[in-house]
């Protein structure tokens, strides 16, 4: 990232905000696209050496046979991997595998790098012995296995999933966490999910007009349960059976899971086997003692289901320092649990001035949106920040604003502006600013 743009000449007219932020159109408009010129051909006829001299060995012999299931390059295995938090105690600890956002591009997270939080381990489910039943306040209860679900007209949609514990270290930790982005932001990922709209199945059962909630339970060893509001269930909740074009992986709920777009991840019950239609929430452990947000006055927010508007710069970030002065692309991800991202602004001076970043389309509702903005780093200290705004005008708050409204013990739903400081040597650190 340090080499590619170094010859670009900067015109002051392209500056968009303080400390080197450039117009988001700069890369689009400029003809900086490499400028490779055709090398003049040597006179090959005058030489008798084999033509392949100097080529790498993989160019000079046929490669491997095709694998049944493709894998990443062996050179990437150590570099791009999920960070799995070590268990702090015994086996009952929740485990989380975090997405290395700073090493990925685009908006789709490879399935094997999708974040995972598990409270009772990953069940090894035989699909021939797994069925999901819809019952309760319905005219007639039905059950389905994955092959039966497969027969319905499916929908495929791209959605982000985020654990509401993502970024939680920023609530109470007195000092900014310096682990790579894994720890602060690695519990959000984006996928294409394919499944049957839950409303289709509910219609077949005949839901009572008095129904208000649906209690979803999984087949994991904790029978993890959460209450889903009926309006959500009838809107865009799906029973997903595919992720990124292939059947769900065991860790993502194989053979079937609930997917509530834009909601905190815990509500999207994996390995779902029971949907109980009723008029009240179940008040399960994970919607009372966990996934409730403790406020400064002793109260707690409950059923804070919808994810907030949020963004983070993934490059540069604290695992990716700047090696030399020059033109960089600042890029990152923005998302909102309510709808589409409308705008992302970036600051290079700790929030004094802001410039609008380019959003890479298509911009999809409740999905990660990538933003980009050129930045000329001239070797001066900087604080990089991004601020997302969604189509409903919800603005990502500053850390100060968030803590003022909620206190420091909320644990869940931290979504404030994230700050990367860059010193004169180009080292990047997480700071509270």
């Amino acid at each position: 990232m340090t080499e590619k743009n170094k010859t670009l000449v900067v015109d002051p007219i392209d500056q968009a905000a303080g400390n080197g932020l450039m117009s988001r159109r700069l890369f689009l408009n400029s003809a900086f696209a490499g400028g490779a010129t055709l090398a003049t051909a040597g006179n090959a006829f005058a030489q008798e050496a084999v033509v392949g001299e100097g080529q790498e060995e993989w160019t000079l012999m046929p490669g491997d046979d095709l694998p049944e299931y493709g894998d990443v390059s062996r050179y990437e295995k150590g570099r791009v991997k999920r960070f799995v938090a070590p268990p702090p105690g015994l086996a009952t600890a929740s485990l989380s595998g975090r997405t290395p956002l700073h090493l990925l591009h685009g908006t789709i997270t490879p399935s094997g790098l999708h974040f995972e939080v598990t409270h009772h381990g990953i069940p090894d489910i035989d699909p021939d012995r797994h069925e999901m039943v819809i019952h309760g306040m319905v005219k007639k209860p039905f059950k389905w296995n994955v092959e039966q679900l497969e027969n319905y007209p499916t929908v495929s949609r791209q959605y982000f999933l985020e654990c509401s514990g993502n970024t939680r270290v920023n609530w109470a930790d007195p000092k900014p966490d310096q682990n790579f982005m894994y720890m602060t932001h690695g519990l959000v990922s984006g996928s294409e999910w394919t499944g049957v709209p839950l409303s289709t199945l509910l219609d077949e059962c005949g839901v009572s007009p008095d129904a208000k909630w649906i209690i979803a339970e999984g087949a994991d060893s904790g029978s993890l349960a959460r209450s889903i509001p009926i309006d959500k269930a009838l809107d865009d909740t799906m029973v997903a059976i595919y992720q990124n074009g292939e059947r769900l992986r065991p860790s993502q709920g194989y053979p079937m899971r609930i997917l509530n777009p834009g909601f905190e991840g815990n509500v999207s019950i994996k390995w779902v086997r029971s949907l109980y239609v009723t008029d009240k929430p179940v008040m399960s452990r994970f919607e009372t003692s966990k996934y409730t947000d403790k406020l400064h006055d002793g109260k707690s927010l409950q059923f804070s289901l919808e994810m907030d508007v949020k963004s983070v710069i993934t490059r540069p970030s604290n695992a990716l320092s700047l090696e030399k002065r020059g033109m960089y692309e600042i890029t990152g991800l923005a998302w909102s649990g309510r709808g589409k991202i409308a705008k992302v602004e970036v600051s290079a001076d700790g929030g004094r001035t802001w410039a609008e970043a380019m959003l890479e389309g298509p911009i999809q509702s409740k999905m990660l949106t990538r933003f980009r903005i050129p930045w000329m780093w001239e070797g001066r200290p900087a604080i990089l920040q991004s601020r997302a705004i969604d189509e409903f005008g919800r603005v990502q708050p500053s850390r100060k604003e968030l803590l003022a409204a909620r206190g420091r013990q909320a644990y869940y739903h931290y979504h404030a502006i994230h700050s990367w400081s860059i010193n004169a040597r180009g080292a990047v650190r997480h700071v509270f600013a």
């Binding site: 019952h135 059950k143 804070s304």
Partner: protein, 181 residues
């Protein structure tokens, strides 16, 4: 226009007929046994609580045998979730959310341990044993008496100290705590 109305009416009628029939294109009608096997939720009003009963006195040895290894005792914390104490800490910088200090419903305690505990062998005890361990947790948190009988009739009546402190945040976080003014 009139014909169209008749057509619409008959279409609607057809739709209604189909709805009443309640057919699933590819699903199978579910039996009560299908439901019972998969439905573990119990509710604060007592719905779906099973038969059986217990007391804290009966629950103490069960807790010590099955739970202490991870959760410690009222006197000494274990490595995993603290279940005792913490009263009065919620809302402070030293918040300790336990069964006694935080959980709003006693039915949730029973529901969770009955389906998920012991961690390495969930559902391996009887309903009366799970009622007894629930009673022990409530007793050690000062919520019920040592000999109080806990069953599907009495458990919903147990008042948890922090029950009144939860605020519904769906579909909107109340203005007072909203970031979006």
């Amino acid at each position: 226009m009139f014909l169209r109305k008749i057509l619409m009416a008959s279409l609607l009628l057809c739709g209604a007929t189909i709805t009443v029939a309640q057919e699933s294109r590819f699903g199978t009608p579910a039996t009560q046994a299908d439901i019972d096997k998969r439905f573990w939720s119990t509710f604060p009003d007592g719905e779906n609580l099973p038969d059986g009963q217990g007391t804290a006195m009966l629950g103490k040895p069960l807790f010590e045998e099955q739970c202490t290894i991870c959760h410690g005792t009222p006197e000494a914390r274990g490595e995993n979730d603290v279940l005792f104490g913490g009263h009065g800490t919620i809302g402070t910088d030293k918040a300790l959310a336990t069964v006694g200090s935080y959980w709003p419903y006693a039915t949730t305690v029973f529901n969770y341990i009955r389906k998920a505990m012991p961690y390495t062998a969930p559902m391996s005890m009887t309903n009366s044993e799970y009622y007894s361990i629930t009673a022990y947790l409530l007793y050690e948190n000062g919520i019920i008496g040592e000999g109080d009988v806990i069953n599907k009739e009495t458990l919903p009546d147990v008042k948890m100290p922090n029950a009144g402190n939860f605020i519904m945040a769906y579909p909107e976080v109340p203005e007072e705590y909203s970031i979006q003014k």
